[in-house]
């Protein structure tokens, strides 16, 4: 994803990464979150991202007729040096910090695993009822807002963009 310039390939690599993170959730004993990760991210967000990639494709005239050409939706890159100067020291600092730290909670013996679904359900209905309802309202507002924003307007300045 970092190395490719094709946005569509980056989306597919993001799919691989999200599935890998779901597998890590399973290894960490969070079965409900792994399923939620697959359903929300892979099933929802990534489909949205791929739709976005394909809808914001600037068509090049010679590439559109040539079916042998791969679908090139390229991104421009910034300077590599500044990015590496930020990201690599961040990773090295986090790595040294995490390998040297002795977390007190991790020295305790790991408790016997049982399924997290019933605990999450109980928590959602008791302790986290207010954030749960807030998230419901947020999702409703985001859905309505996204459909309003993405709908084609009758504005003459944007009308020609919809027809092409």
């Amino acid at each position: 994803m970092l190395l490719t310039r094709n946005v569509l390939y980056a989306a597919f690599f993001l799919l691989l990464t999200l599935l890998g993170v779901a597998a890590l959730f399973v290894l960490a004993g969070a079965d409900f979150l792994a399923i939620a990760q697959i359903m929300i991210y892979v099933g929802g967000v990534l489909v949205l991202v791929i739709f976005g990639v394909m809808l914001t494709h600037k068509r090049e005239p010679q590439a559109a007729t040539d079916s042998q050409q791969p679908n090139r939706i390229l991104t421009l890159n910034r300077n590599w040096v500044g990015v590496l100067l930020v990201a690599m020291p961040l990773f090295l600092a986090l790595y040294t910090l995490l390998t040297r730290t002795n977390f007190a909670i991790m020295n305790q013996p790991s408790p016997v695993w049982r399924t997290t679904v019933d605990t999450i359900g109980k928590q959602l209905m008791t302790e986290y009822i207010v954030p749960f309802e807030l998230v419901g309202i947020l999702l409703l507002a985001a859905l309505v807002g996204a459909t309003y924003l993405a709908s084609p307007r009758s504005n003459p300045s944007t009308k020609h963009g919809n027809r092409t």
């Binding site: 967000v45 600037k58 421009l76 990015v83 961040l90 993405a150």
Partner: protein
């Protein structure tokens, strides 16, 4: 089952966060930047889940990870709608070419 040590989850989370930050900083396509943000949110979720394994009675980390996931989904939906409108207006999705407020 042999349990994976939690430090490894944290290190993978750090690597994912750094890669996501590099993607956000490096790429100039709007959707690439959004994907980098999703990757960083996933790294945070991985850390929360790794620590939540030692808290099986309340599962606070997993609850927070769940809410982060939902908010990330809402954020990406709204952001992609905005990206579509921007693309309709400017006919490009490269961030550096969007340098005027009104065309």
């Amino acid at each position: 089952m042999e349990t994976v040590p939690s430090q490894l989850f944290l290190i993978v989370g750090a690597a994912l966060f750094s890669i996501g930050l590099a993607v956000v900083l490096l790429k100039r396509h709007v959707i690439m930047v959004l994907m980098g943000i999703e990757l960083m949110l996933n790294a945070v979720n991985l850390n929360l889940v790794a620590f939540s394994r030692h808290d099986p009675d309340r599962l606070q980390g997993q609850m927070l990870a769940l809410f982060v996931m939902v908010v990330a989904a809402a954020e990406s939906a709204v952001a992609l709608a905005i990206v579509l409108q921007v693309y309709r207006h400017f006919r490009t999705a490269q961030l550096d070419e969007l340098n005027e407020l009104k065309q």
